[in-house]
Amino acid sequence: MNRSPAQLSAAVTVFVVYILLAGCASAPVEKPRLQRENLQAVNFSGSWEMDYSLSDSTQEKLDVMARDLNRQAQRRAQSEGRRRPVGAEMMVRNTAGPNSGSSVLGLARMADLITQSPLLEIHQDTHKISVKREEDFSLTCEFYPGEMHKVETPFGTEICGWNGHQLVFELRLPEGLSIQHIITMGAAGQKLLIATTVVSSQVSFPFSLNRVYNRFEPGESGFQCQETLTRGRVCTTESR
């Protein structure tokens, strides 16, 4: 298949943007330091749809992780004079316990579950951002100088803030589960990367998934609608 120079150039650009974005966000093992001054660096507002071709495949990531864990276990076994890894060290064993197959698989399924939203609607103003995720709760954060946004509830703790040009959401939940979303915007403002890292106290490696989103303009319906309390969704034909 012959491609025109313009198509090739576009493909290369997309690839470079992806690599850059992924590079920014795929080193999440090191905890991002949230800035206390809380100055907004980027405006993420807009509608975004997932680009499956640029987003990570959970299965591939899981395979990589399984290989890494096995390799690590083998190295440890060799250094201890054993020929093969034993017991809980051997990740592929489908038993309970730390780094067991079911724990790693659980972590990967969890990461997949919480990064499934195909559409995002982001509203951002001077003091807050709301990332509406289809089929999930909205990620929200408030920005006030000198204070990190932290919400503690009986069900978990949320911390969010800026790390340079990236917006970081951290969620600490019971069962030793913690989730981190790092949102980065592409240089042209048309792509969004959400790097999600899931950590479980039962798996020694974090599991990360990168989801890439493309900006899109929601179709003009010719109606202007708003929610009301007594009449539900009310639409008029007034132009915006």
Partner: protein, 367 residues
Amino acid sequence: MYDRIALMLSQAQRVVSVAGMVLCVAVLMVAGTDSAASTQQSGLVDVGLVVFDPGIPADQSTHSQRGIFPDIRKAEAKYMPVVLRQVLIESGDWGVVRVLPEVLDSSELLVTGIILQSDGLRLQLRINARDASGVEWLNRVYSGSTRSTDYPASVPGDPYLGLYQQIADDLAAVLRQKNAKQLTTIQDIALMRYAIQLAPTVFGSYLTQTPEGRYVLVRFPAEGDPMLARVIRIRNQEYLFIDTVDEQYERLSEEMAPTYNLWRQYGAEQAIYQGEYQERVASRGAQGRRGSFTALEQSYNTYKWSKIHEQDLVELALGFNNEVAPTVMDVSGAVVELSGTLDSQYSEWRDILQRIFTLETGLPPAS
């Protein structure tokens, strides 16, 4: 000869000038003389209810944590005094009860309030009442809570009617401790405070203020005093304006009531649900082995649903604002317009009275 002519001309000019002023004031006030009933005629104390302080913390970062929706609070601050007004009127203990956009110092009894907490389950208000002499009648926090049977709230009606009733009862209790003379003195002081604002040179010596801020009546103008009669007519005219402002608040209250009641009902249901949800979660054990997908999913979903319910309330607040904001803006605009008209009218009245006083007494105008 020419001097006498000049003097006669000057006197005639003065008479014409005074007559013109009097006519001007009379024309200005003719409507107010009858329609706005004077408080002293009825013997009942008039009440001024200032639009409540919405109690929104200046630190915006605390709003979401404390469950405060500023736009809703601002609407509530205009809504609640109208409910209290209705309760006071129905008690029959009071003269005219008006909702005021701001403090009117010359009110016979001035009631102010701060909203400390307001949601579908609980209402907490700090209410202060002070009469024209500066004596505090009331300064306490009122709390009310609702039960599920209070919803859906009927219109007219309010799930916190008991709280407003308690305020009215407490005010009435203080009222009953006052004898007729004390009440008349309060009314006279209120009138003098108003007169001093209009013509300080004329009425300034009728009142004194103690170091504690209390007003004491030193003397009172003679019956039939023309200057006092003008002041009373101007005050009645001002009341006409205030009554128009008051009607705006009543309109807001009527239009807002169905939406506001629904908002409080949803808020109460949400809060009850959250409480029950917390109890359910606390009582159920972990479903899967620690670290398993089932356990992780349970932990995530528990958080997810608590967030979804919390965020529903934010969506409802948005729905409330979408529905009520146009009326609030409309009423606020009308109030600002009326208050602006009143301010300019008031300044005109002050000027006219000052000129009449100068012409009548020959004294130089107050600086």
